[in-house]
Amino acid sequence: MPDVAKPSGGVAPGYTLSTGLGSQALAGLALVALPVGLLVTLTLLPTVRMVAATFLVEGHLSAERYFAFFNDAYTMANLRYTLEMGLVSAIAALSVSFGIALYLRFSAGRIATMIHGLSLFPLFVPSIIISYALVRFLGPNGLFQLLLEQVGFTQYRTPYLTPVGPFLAFLWENIPLPVLVLSAGLSQVSDHAVEAARDLGAKAPRILWEILLPQMRRSLLIAFALIFMGIIGAFTVPYMLGPPAPEMMSVFMQRTLGNLHDPASAQVQAVVLMVISSIVGGFYIATMAKSSAGAR
């Protein structure tokens, strides 16, 4: 697959138009000013204002809203549920994708092409569509249950409105990204290394553990960070498929702001989620920076 989206690779470095540097710098800044301005007004400023607002209680600095957050059992249950959902779903998605990527790496032909296509299908399906589709597929008397009953299995219990519902949706949504990332990584593991190990008598699990996994570590970490961030921030999937309680953080925020009309608490919830996400995001960016530095 040609990797088109790669600006940082610098395909044509140092190509400049034949004007003086001063006017070029001005033109460049003028051209980027509007989108940068949009980012500043609608991402940077609201975030900074929100963080400041959460520490301002009746005109003076105080962390009492955060004490309230971390001392509230229901809030903490929601936070724990969110993080566990992110962790479990991301690990499951990575494991399944790794299996698919391994199969694709060592096979060819029509079946492999079809599996590759299927694994990328979720890219073309927005969250709200798959959430609704899963309600109809896995829900009570859904097509999945009907299929099971055709083969004589009548004990089906729907995952809809249990934590398994959003888990399955997150798993479904997060197959393509790691399949792409891991396939790219696996294609760099040479056949010779695998064959040499096999000739020396290594069994498949050992080849996996000692040759493939070490080389895939960075790809796995990057994919994990991206999936985890996506899941802990998700709204549509848990809103449509999840149980009424515990709530994932975005659903909780929506209810706090929209139904309870408590923007102060909603903002604290948002800041906590942002901090967790930015820790994982910082780790992702550091890993990316390291790998692109290594590639040069």
């Binding site: 697959m1 990797d3 088109v4 790669k6 600006p7 610098g10 395909v11 044509a12 138009l17 070029q24 710098a25 001005l26 800044l29 051209l31 980027v32 989108p35 949009l38 980012l39 609608l42 991402t43 975030t47 204002r49 079946i111 599996i115 299927l118 694994s119 299908f121 890219l123 073309f124 399906v125 969250s127 709200i128 569509i129 798959i130 609704y132 589709a133 899963l134 309600v135 109809r136 597929f137 008397n141 009907l146 009953e149 055709q150 990332v181 961030m229 996506g230 802990i232 709204f235 809103y239 449509m240 929506q254 702001l257 929209g258 948002a270 989620l273 996400s277 930015s278 910082g282 960016i285």
Partner: protein, 266 residues
């Protein structure tokens, strides 16, 4: 050899069921007039619910609202982002790398949490429930596609052609219009499609900034999905998603691992 073949076949069948099963269910429902438990398939087929849905103003209005919102937000984002992408790719200016990087870093901010911060400000300004308030916020979802993919495309165009045209005396505008732009066009179109579809189906900002006065198509879908008549939401899904699916398929070349990692990741 035979073992891997059967292994592959089992993997294919189970993946086919898991990946396509949910969508097939929705398509069946959209064309089912009667589908009662325990029948595996609908017992009566037809377009009855399509006509019923398309004749209702409460359905048409949100669809038109969404199309207007999405077109305005995506086109405006394109107008401000594509020139910026050209600048990121071809011009030298102070802070270029840092600013380009800031568009990626912004993706690490959880969207829903960010929209909460914006909603609180909009509440004070009276912009919640305002059409243009939603447009501005939805532009954010377009920015990454519209900066990242076009920047890569402009960088990927070999400068030799442009230089040759310059040497032959072509003006910069002429070179841009006749050499650079045609080569970047597929990537620009793809970035437009990706941004358009992601905004069209966006729930988060529509719910926090638009509701209750601005009802978009995804919000309608959410309210329909909770109703007793299953077909209504199914019809809406098929009606809106299938054209988008075709458009996305045409742009799939640009959905690379790296592009997705940065675009869809957070």
């Amino acid at each position: 050899m035979k073992r891997t073949y059967f292994g592959g076949l089992i993997l294919l069948v189970s993946m086919g069921l898991a990946m396509l099963g949910p969508i097939i269910t929705v398509i069946l429902w959209a064309f089912a007039v009667k589908w009662r438990y325990p029948h595996l398939l609908p017992t009566e087929w037809g377009m009855k619910y399509w006509f019923a849905m398309l004749g209702r103003e409460t359905v048409i209005t949100p669809i038109l609202t969404s199309l207007a919102l999405t077109s305005i937000a995506t086109t405006t984002a394109a107008l401000i982002c594509w020139p910026a992408a050209y600048a990121f790719a071809r011009l030298k200016f102070p802070g270029r790398q840092l600013l380009l990087f800031s568009f990626i870093a912004a993706q690490a901010v959880p969207k829903f949490a960010l929209f909460v911060s914006i909603a609180v400000i909009f509440l004070k300004l009276g912009l919640v429930g305002n059409f243009w308030g939603v447009v501005v916020v939805q532009m954010l979802s377009a920015v990454l596609f519209m900066i990242w993919i076009p920047t890569a495309a402009f960088r990927g165009i070999p400068p030799a052609l442009e230089e040759a045209a310059f040497d032959l005396g072509a003006s910069r505008l002429r070179v841009f219009l006749f050499i650079t732009l045609p080569q970047a066009m597929p990537a620009l179109a793809a970035s437009y499609v990706l941004a358009f579809v992601s905004i069209l189906f966006e729930v988060d900002s529509a719910l926090l900034i638009g509701a209750p006065t601005v009802t978009t198509m995804p919000l309608l879908l959410m309210s329909l999905s909770a109703q007793v008549i299953v077909q209504e939401a199914a019809v809406l899904c098929v009606l809106i998603w299938v054209p988008c699916f075709v458009l996305l398929l045409l742009s799939r070349r640009f959905m690379t691992a790296r592009g997705i990692a940065q675009g869809f990741g957070a």
